[in-house]
């Protein structure tokens, strides 16, 4: 019924379906503002071709990045990329990003291809990432993306929402990754299944934008359909300045235009559950094999030897993350039986790390740098593990087999903890190194 109080998710899906309002549980035909795919685009194209269409319905709303296995590790991966390039050229898809530009979620944020209040569907399970700016991002499958390419719309169920009120400020060396792991540890891997996880409260604005990206991204690991962090002026400014720089327009005008498109929940909207977190009480967390909700305090794990430390991914491969690693490692060296792999989330992140001198310092500390992209996160290449090895990673998933072999163990933590562990050759907190 029109006029009933609406959550963020209800409002965005109503807008995308051309409706006044929506009811929770309603299935709507939504027209997303952006349809995202990546190395899976060749497989999606094959499904799209089955639909008998010669031209895409929504080339202007599509974005394709090559990021999951770049540069191509095998001839078959290279063939996959070649098919995607051919498709992009044939259909005239303007928003196409070559190998090395970076990970889809980071690149689309940097390029401002998604805006607050919009709906983005991605053939990627970390599409909830875009909640960082107050848009609704949800993952879909390949067949769904193919149908979206052909028709411009897809069925979506209006989800229940879970509200998380943040208060206070994070302590020293405690990051939004720890906050995310704390929440997932408390509620479980299915703690937000099918739900929109909506963050608000005075603690939210204390988080940097890059920290917000990590938080929104990780909600995929709690089963969430999407994330939502109430956007503030800092979000609009970040996006507005980037839009203005690209288009040669006025940053203030772009910023206020973005703010005008933002969507906020009604104050009396209905939530399936509400939680309150005092950020000052969150501790440094590590997720142990093979579950993201298998969380422990870092101090309980100091007996775990580390073969590989990995910094990167759409979760924690940004400038702020590399800066933290630099803080821990500058003037030190990694342990002799441990290797440290750093893969920036995008070419812009790598550029910043170079300009600020971090890359040189970190290479002196023993780090190895890789091409911006997803790296070994899902076991394709660039640092997969040997059977029996242990990796501590700034990524998002520690599932058995994730990094190439079922006989390796993956621990998940913040970039600072990963860096400290590389220095001591065992799982460690930054305080142990910095003391």
């Amino acid at each position: 019924m029109p006029g009933s109080p609406q959550t963020f998710a209800q409002k965005v899906l109503a807008r995308a379906a051309g409706l006044e309002s929506t009811e929770i549980g309603q299935i709507v035909d939504a027209r997303p503002d952006v349809a995202l795919s990546h190395d899976n685009s060749a497989a999606i194209r094959a499904i799209w071709q089955e639909l008998g269409q010669e031209r895409l319905a929504i080339p202007d709303r599509m974005a394709i990045t090559l990021d999951h296995a770049v540069p191509a590790p095998t001839a078959r991966h290279a063939q996959n990329h070649a098919e995607i390039r051919e498709f992009v050229a044939e259909q005239g898809i303007a928003s196409f990003f070559e190998i090395g530009r970076g990970i889809c979620h980071q690149v689309l944020s940097e390029e401002v291809l998604v805006r607050p209040g919009q709906l983005i569907l991605g053939a990627d399970s970390h599409t909830p990432h875009f909640g960082w700016m107050g848009s609704l991002g949800a993952g879909v499958g390949r067949s769904e993306m193919a149908v979206l390419w052909a028709t411009g719309e897809l069925w979506m169920r209006v989800p229940e929402s879970l509200r998380v009120e943040l208060e206070g400020e994070l302590g020293s060396w405690v990051t939004s990754k720890d906050l995310a792991l704390h929440l997932i540890g408390a509620l479980g891997q299915d703690g937000a299944l099918y739900r929109s996880v909506e963050f608000a409260g005075p603690g939210l604005v204390t988080l940097s934008l890059e920290s917000r990206m990590a938080l929104a991204n990780m909600m995929a690991e709690m089963g969430a359909k999407n994330s939502y962090l109430e956007p503030d002026e800092a979000v609009f400014r970040y996006l507005g300045e980037r839009l203005a720089a690209r288009a040669g327009t006025d940053a203030a005008a772009e910023t206020s235009g973005l703010a005008a498109g933002a969507i906020y929940p009604d104050p009396d909207a209905a939530y399936a559950a509400s939680h309150s977190i005092d950020l000052s009480q969150v501790q440094v967390q590590v997720a142990c094999p093979h579950r993201v909700d298998n969380t422990r305090a870092v101090s309980e794990l100091s007996h775990i030897h580390v073969d590989q430390a990995f910094i990167g991914t759409c979760t924690n491969g940004r400038a702020e993350d590399i800066e933290q690693v630099h803080r821990v490692l500058v003037g030190r060296h990694i342990a002799s039986r441990t290797r440290l792999l750093i893969i920036p989330a995008s070419s812009q992140v790598l550029g910043e790390a170079l300009a600020r001198g971090w890359v040189q310092d970190l290479m002196q500390a023993g780090a190895v740098f890789g091409t911006p992209g997803c790296g070994p996160c899902m076991g394709n290449h660039l640092g997969v593990l040997a059977p029996g090895e242990v990796c501590i990673s700034s990524a998002n998933r520690n599932f058995r087999g994730r990094m190439g072999t079922p006989d390796a163990e993956i621990y998940l933590a913040s970039p600072a903890v990963v860096a400290a562990s590389a220095v001591l050759g065992r799982i460690a907190s930054p305080e142990e190194v910095m003391a």
């Binding site: 299935i27 190395d39 899976n40 060749a42 497989a43 094959a46 499904i47 089955e50 639909l51 008998g52 269409q53 999951h68 296995a69 095998t74 078959r76 991966h77 996959n80 991605g122 053939a123 990627d124 399970s125 993952g139 879909v140 499958g141 390949r142 067949s143 769904e144 193919a146 149908v147 052909a150 028709t151 069925w155 169920r157 891997q189 299915d190 299944l193 099918y194 089963g223 359909k225 579950r291 899902m378 076991g379 394709n380 997969v384 998933r397 599932f399 058995r400 087999g401 994730r402 190439g404 079922p406």
Partner: protein, 165 residues
Amino acid sequence: MSPLRQGRVWKYGDDVNTDVIFPGKYTYTLRTPEEIAPHALEDLDPAFVCGVEPGDIIVAGNNWGCGSSREQAATCLVYNGVSAVVAKSFGRIFYRNAINNGLAAVACSEAVEAIQAGETISVDLDACVVRCDRGQFPFPPVGESLVRILEAGGLVAWAKERLAS
């Protein structure tokens, strides 16, 4: 597609993720059913592909198929002849991928508790009931739009009909 699915049960636990159902390292190179099928449940239960028979049904706990959006997590089961997955709950993208590929995905906690590995059960999508040795257990009907997709034989077949009309 048949509304009645019947087969032997393969039973698994909670939070079985898509990496153990179909490893990520294969996701951009293996495309055909013949290539995909042998890797089903590779890192969860290597006995599965050796013993699975057409019609077999997977029964699992909470959050079956959590993790990646990779559609092969559903299609690798279809290519091995699996006719249904009955779980306490599903990872949401797996659920969509299953329906969109004509694989019945039924959430029914009571049935999962009652069913033993190896027994033969049936899933009746018309009557919305799971029948097993210990009785029969109802599940809520899937929505009208999803029924249209299932009836068409999956999302691509449904979209083809729509685009042709």
